[in-house]
Symmetry: C2
Subunit: 268 residues, 2 copies
């Protein structure tokens, strides 16, 4: 999916919500567990119930890998169930020497046709470059994350700029506004205004609203640009809104609530 199409979907749905499918087999409703692929059945119901309120689904690979081969099957089936006009993210945080990153790109852009994959930049520019060699595929690079550990390195100064700022400026040498996004945690909303000066036009993927406590209004205030420029992710607060048989309806209600709040910010 290209940038024009993504912006079109945001304006059409008046939503920039990304629903995170962090589906833990130990947390899904018990009445699904007798089915052949409970994780997929859960995701299918969540997708069918929430697809009108979001423009993106983010599949957190860890939760699928935890189930081994079976989990990889659930991931594949889930990806193919997502409607074509919805932006798909493999939240995989990959990155390795070029030879190996080529293989990760093959995994998430060819074998599994995700629109995008999240990338961990520690090993430098060449470790994520292979992901930018594809048309209409996106690399989403970790910049400033939502967890306490973001203070350990990301926010440390190298010269007069923080590490995450170096990641942003270095990475914009190999990607552009049509194939590169950055992860910026909602719990760091006050830094968004500063980040927008560095990259006014890039899309940002913003986790941390919901279970992690970030504020939607603050993210919009400091992070929105003229094309919206935001995908705000919520995972646990939506998919686990209810642990009963009404889990999909409860997820839809929670997604609708967020989309309704977002609608006031999205122009035509």
């Amino acid at each position: 999916m290209n940038r024009t199409e993504l912006i079109k979907q945001i304006k059409l749905k008046k939503s920039f919500l990304c629903v995170g499918l962090d589906t833990d087999i130990k947390k899904i409703p018990s009445h699904l567990l007798h089915l052949d692929d409970p994780v997929f059945e859960f995701n299918k119901a969540i997708i069918d119930a929430t697809k009108d309120y979001c423009v993106s689904y983010k599949i957190n690979t860890a939760f699928y890998e935890a189930n081994g081969v079976k989990g990889w099957e659930s991931m594949e089936r889930t990806l193919f169930h997502i409607p074509e006009n919805i932006f798909t993210i493999a939240d995989a945080k990959r990155g390795d020497i070029g030879n190996t990153s080529n293989m990760y790109a093959r995994a998430f852009f060819e074998t599994l046709p995700f629109h995008s994959v999240t990338l961990a930049p520690y090993m430098g520019k060449d470790s994520i470059a292979p992901f930018f060699a594809y048309d209409n595929r996106w690399g989403i690079v970790l910049a400033l994350t939502s967890n306490p550990g973001s203070a350990d390195y990301e926010q440390q100064l190298i010269g007069n700029r923080k590490l995450y700022e170096h990641v942003i400026t270095t990475t914009t040498q190999i990607g552009n506004t049509g194939n590169l996004m950055f992860v910026v945690g909602a719990t760091k909303a006050e830094e968004l205004a500063h980040i927008r000066k560095l990259i006014p036009d890039h899309f940002l993927l913003v986790p941390g609203v919901g279970a992690q406590g970030g504020s939607l209004a603050d993210v919009v205030k400091y992070g929105m640009n003229q094309d919206c420029g935001l995908l705000i992710n919520a995972s646990r607060s939506i998919i686990y809104a209810s642990s009963g048989k009404d889990f999909a309806e409860a997820a839809a209600a929670e997604a609708k609530k967020m989309a309704d709040e977002m609608a006031q910010y999205v122009g035509d």
Copy 2:
């Protein structure tokens, strides 16, 4: 596998070789391609031929994920074919918020019972902490890697120490010499002496000897400690030593050559 057992195996085999199973279905001998699981059959032959010359196998997850569900099956079958007295590494370079890293730990320590997994530290201490909550399992944290991009961030100064030095000192707060190793590229051998001052006792996983051009003698000179303290990885130079029907014999010859060179450095 614990540290005592690993050191015992190194002394027994007079080798600290790790064979990297970066198995690309596009590079394996064509006579295997008609089999049901060519990647596993290739790995099985490589393992059977090289197991007396190495103390570790490193499975590079990217090469398996590139084949999707089928690749994850090949990875599982390969892991279970590795003899019990050989240290297994999931070269996966994972790391995420705690909630997600718990799932990656479940994936690589429980569902797939690897002895160790490589970790990317960008997101900070809490992003890799869950991997150190297991007995006899190891986290192997990226410090100074072998690729050109290691100059982009890893070698940048934060205060008077490089980022990778901060990673080492921060990570030793949550892991110890019995469950924490670091990745240090062989192409950076001159920095090994410096790293040994920071962490005299930890094991180091050293890629970059072989196809990437690092020198075994230099790594030993600067990186070996009284317990050996090194696992030196070679991937492509061993597993692709021949592209013909003799690939396993050629891999064995290459592994034996490296082990013979290593034997002169390992005491009884």
